[in-house]
């Protein structure tokens, strides 16, 4: 039985904040395939296209037939726990701070045998369900989970150490006016978030969700205009040390092509999207990075909400998707910078949302509720890449298959 996490005590300012350490991060190029699968919550192993052998650890040639034609394929998640140990001594600083640590050997239904982190609710010799998850270093690792859900299972020390679950954490949503903000706030609180801060630009301008948000418990609205560096710095000065997860959902989506769109909209899209991310990173990044190991409510994640078309331009939304692409590029660099502090950067690619600015577009469109759910699930599962909605999933799949072909298709209005 997993002990439920107790709410963390108030931070003692006289005590030193522990310096974040990371688990071993060096991997071979082949082994990075584990991180790619884990980033999306998939369970994939390296497979030989010539003889079909599934192998682990990842290699550069097939251990059965020496073929070098190796691909990553989804595999069954079942496994049998063959042996286990509880480690009480480690020369590695990260694990040393987290001992004792349970690890074991699992016989995967997919074929190979592997070492894995073992969830506390998995009994000796039991059947387990394995997952590939990202650890604090941002690397993909195998975790043997109980076959069935168990109470408070997300509070297991191993999962908490590697995950980004919202429970007990304080979360900043940068744009209270975005259509998904109320549903997202509700979903985060339902997932156990301790507090939700909402950023609100131009506070004098009312918006429909304001009364709902103001009435919610453990929710506060704060002046925040991501296009204004002073505003961002002011807010960071007041709550920066208490933000454990930052969800940057500020974005400016307007229809229009390169000829038919306005420079004004393009500038707004870049200011609010790409440069807004940079202002937020300047103001909140250092405190996030420094608090990556700060107990139960350690800083854990940065979420960037992106238009699905940040992977490929949409001529109907030229400036907005260009700003999306710029935001994505900056956020990828931010991911590398924040990784040193153990902070995960989650990209949520949102298909066209069902709002005024996408009004003439045909379905499927993404309900704000669905986007909110996708963000929270991404955090609960500790992912790096989430594609919310059918359009976003479709674009991601086509992007993975052939980016040039996807670009052509987008030009045709697909």
């Amino acid at each position: 039985m997993t002990q439920p996490l107790a709410p963390p005590p108030k931070k003692n300012p006289a005590r030193r904040t522990p310096v974040p350490t990371l688990p071993p991060a060096i991997r071979s190029r082949a082994a990075l395939g584990l991180a790619l699968a884990a980033a999306q919550g998939r369970f994939q192993l390296q497979t030989c296209t010539d003889c079909g052998a599934v192998q682990y650890p990842p290699r550069d040639a097939c251990h059965r037939c020496l073929s070098t034609a190796l691909v990553w394929q989804d595999q069954p998640r079942g496994a049998q726990l063959l042996a286990e140990t509880t480690i009480h001594a480690s020369p590695d600083p990260y694990f040393r701070e987290r001992l004792p640590w349970r690890a074991g050997t699992v016989q995967l239904d997919a074929g190979p045998v592997a070492l894995a982190h073992i969830h506390g609710d998995v009994a000796r010799g039991a059947r387990t369900r394995t997952a590939l998850m990202l650890d604090r270093a941002g690397q993909g690792v195998l975790v043997a989970l109980p076959e069935q859900e168990t109470p408070h299972m997300q509070d297991d020390p191993a999962l908490r150490a590697m995950g980004t679950h919202p429970s007990h954490r304080r979360i900043l949503i940068t744009d209270a006016r975005a259509p998904e903000a109320p549903a997202l706030t509700r979903a985060l609180l339902d997932a156990g978030a301790a507090h939700v801060f909402l950023g609100l630009a131009e506070r004098w301008r009312p918006f429909p969700a304001q009364p709902t948000l103001e009435a919610m418990k453990n929710v506060t609205l704060h002046p925040l205009d991501v296009t204004d560096a002073d505003s961002v710095i002011d807010l960071a000065g007041s709550i920066g040390g208490k933000v454990d997860i930052l969800i940057n959902n500020a974005r400016h989506i307007r229809p229009g092509g390169v000829i038919t769109g306005t420079i004004h909209d393009a500038s707004d899209a870049l200011q609010k999207g790409a440069l807004g991310l940079m202002r937020l990173a300047h103001a909140f990044g250092p405190a996030l990075s420094a608090r990556g190991a700060d107990g139960v409510n350690s800083a854990a994640a940065w979420v960037t909400v992106l238009p699905a078309q940040s992977l490929a331009h949409d001529p109907g939304f030229a400036a907005s998707t260009a700003a999306g692409a710029a935001t994505r590029a900056l956020s990828l660099s931010l991911r590398a910078e924040l990784r040193a502090g153990g902070i995960r950067v989650l990209h949520v690619h949102a298909g066209p949302i069902d709002d005024d600015w996408h009004q003439p577009l045909p379905p499927p469109k993404l309900a704000p509720n669905a986007l909110a759910r996708a963000i929270v699930q991404g955090l609960e599962q500790g992912l790096e890449e989430v594609h919310a909605g059918d359009v976003a999933r479709d674009i991601a799949e086509r992007f993975a298959q052939n980016p040039a072909l996807l670009a052509r298709e987008m030009e045709g209005g697909a």
């Binding site: 071993p24 082994a31 063959l82 042996a83 140990t85 509880t86 480690s90 690890a103 050997t105």
Partner: protein
Amino acid sequence: MARQGYDGVVLAAPFTEPYTRFSNETAHWWIARALRGSLRAAGLTPRDIDGFAVASFTLFPDTPVALTQHLGLSPRWLDSVPMGGASGIVALRRAARAVQAGDAEIVACVAGDTNPIDGFRKLLSAFSRFSLDASYPYGYGGPNASFALLMDRYMTEYGASRADFGHIAIAQRDNALRNPHALMKKPLSLDDYLTARPIAEPIALYDCVMPCAGAEAFLVMSEDRARALNLPFARISGTIERHNAFADDPIQLRGGWAVDVDELWQMAGMGPPDMDLVQTYDDYPVISALQFEDLGFCPKGEGAAFLAARDLTITGDLPHNTSGGQLSAGQAGAAGGFIGLTEAIRQVTRTAGPTQVADAARALVSGFGMINFDRGLCSAACVLEAPS
């Protein structure tokens, strides 16, 4: 085709450079000390050797090639043996064939490693690609955790108890108390063993070796040369070597010895009961038990019980790891692959001094090396015999 024997080739001049827990010297220094010690024991100079085999983990950025210039050697036969716990026997096998074929007349086989503060962690951190990719990220217990899984499985599968393994460790400590160079100098009781602090369950403190600095060396030459030099020597009755055996076993409960054990005893013309002493690779007691099983002393799964019923001390009915082995003398990197071999040569040449087994004439030495991911990949064994 039956394998050719090792007639006419012998081992001589075993030398152990006393180990230290930590050292600021380099592997080069340790290897030089052991080589010099062995050559002095044989009454030779560096110019007299024309073959050189080296095992070391801490020579970086050098290799044995650079070592020739560093130490002023000019061999016509040079080998690097990266096989950890199997490196002593593998070096012996290669050197013996070189001498037999005339490619070299005298081969010095040397293993040495240093151990600065924090050196063991650094050594581990770049040990192998599979370790980096698939072992260290899971709690970074190092070899302790890898062998804890093996021991956990072994105990579940065969019903062995921790006390059975304690018997092995305790006997070795007893032996080590006679070895003035052993790092462990206090007696070990079963109670000490059973109540020791856990390291990686079921492995506790006294299942583990102490990483240290040290070096070992011996010479391989023709029997005629050894006689001319008036050196005591040991003959090689049989040897085997195997890598990545039983790759499909989900957890390693047997090693490569089980593939080749019949050939070993056939070649030696003797069997397990003929051995006056046994030197196994003892990074953990469970591994020693595995070797007794795979080398034919008892059936699979009965190793721990078989050993628990024997007296494994120097004066016992089955003397085992007579210098204290790695568990009590220390694990000096790749020299851990030589420690049993140099001691066995001393034993059958009756030069072991305080650890001498009375009337020792035949010894089995076993090597086991290199946990690449979840198991040791290299296994080797040899039977040594005193000249009749």
